[in-house]
Symmetry: C2
Subunit: 229 residues, 2 copies
Amino acid sequence: MSAPRTARERARAELTDEIKAAARRQLESSGAESLSLRAISRELGMVSSALYRYFPSRDELLTALIIDAYNALGEAAEKAAQQEYPHPREAWIAVYAAVRDWSRANRHEYALIYGSPIAGYQAPQDTVQPAARVPLVLMRILSQAHAEGWLTELNAPEPTGRLAEQVDVLAGLAPGVPKWMLLRLAIAWTQLFGMISFELFGQLVGSMDPADDFFAETSRQMAAYVGIS
Amino acid sequence: MSAPRTARERARAELTDEIKAAARRQLESSGAESLSLRAISRELGMVSSALYRYFPSRDELLTALIIDAYNALGEAAEKAAQQEYPHPREAWIAVYAAVRDWSRANRHEYALIYGSPIAGYQAPQDTVQPAARVPLVLMRILSQAHAEGWLTELNAPEPTGRLAEQVDVLAGLAPGVPKWMLLRLAIAWTQLFGMISFELFGQLVGSMDPADDFFAETSRQMAAYVGIS
DNA sequence: TCACAATAGAGAGCACTGCTCTCGCAAACC
DNA sequence: GGTTTGCGAGAGCAGTGCTCTCTATTGTGA
């Protein structure tokens, strides 16, 4: 993140961005499967072998795009959460909508991160943190709603056994929020992306497509489900 | 589905199956992206151009595999539902488990049908019916549970507007089941596959992975959510 | 039964891919 | 100013999907 010093370093950073931009452009028009390094190099007016000075392989380029996509989506969600809302339910719903809007506007990038993993799947370690941004936003809403006393006390059973241990990890990030609530948050999280994947990947055709109303109603129901009164 | 007559027709049907079997084998080892017609033809001891007598393109082969995968998964779900259960909740949970088990045992085929759609996405019309088998199984459980009086009467609001129309389509297949219940079924359906996709695609690493307990508890909660008392 | 038509596989070839290697040129550093 | 480092060009390899032509085999109607 430090500013590049020499002309060479600056040129390198710029070209790296240009390559990613061209890749993203090509992605929008034809999907990840047919993303071609040679086509990118042609678009940039350079020879294909030169591209390997910037990305050691096609998979590395894709991994870079994946991280960027996670961050762009996370940023959209965080931006939506930063607004002022009269009730945490509205914040919850706004984040849902922001996630869906970004996904619909960048469906190929969405497919890149939430679709089938690419063949030589890269070390996911670099992607773990950016991938956590959306669930963290939802968790923060819950945490804040708890602090402000907005949460209902359903008498849902507390998780036990190994599940309790797993939920405990989340609890460290949202102190005070009941465990059953964090468990339900995880369930809602998987539901959110399942629903968006179904919409984007054509699984809703013939039933809930177009999905606007289905999505809106579901985000309301899920807010209630996790305990936002 | 009629029995092949001539020797040529029989040979054709057999070779078609062998090609799909080889493709499936190759799929398991390296994923859909790197599925190669030439590698398949090599494995079968024929020249690659001969393969085009059976499948006009790579995408057509993939489409055939997709349909087979939908049917295999649907069959697994139906088989689980056919058992006798003392309570519809158990049937619901068994179907959830069957879907997950099949998906874990055939993760590349799962990715083929629930991951990102392939580039030149084939006319989905042929896939619509086999794809509907799993949700239909869940719907039948709900329908039967309703007939036997197992369903709770939550005072959930009925869907309105366009959402009501979409739910009406489902209602035609499950007469008597309240609309809010069918809506929740759709939500549970997206949750189920969102959860499985997250597990198989590595999205749960660092939180709910391994997902056995999370999955089991979620299937219980979702049964309650759709109104199975 | 036999000629004709339909079908299957072989082989060569085209345009494309990711990736490697070597070779010069230019910028950065001491 | 000389040396090291980084960068782009170009050729080349092994692989891909797919098309076309040619030949052999199988099925069928007169």
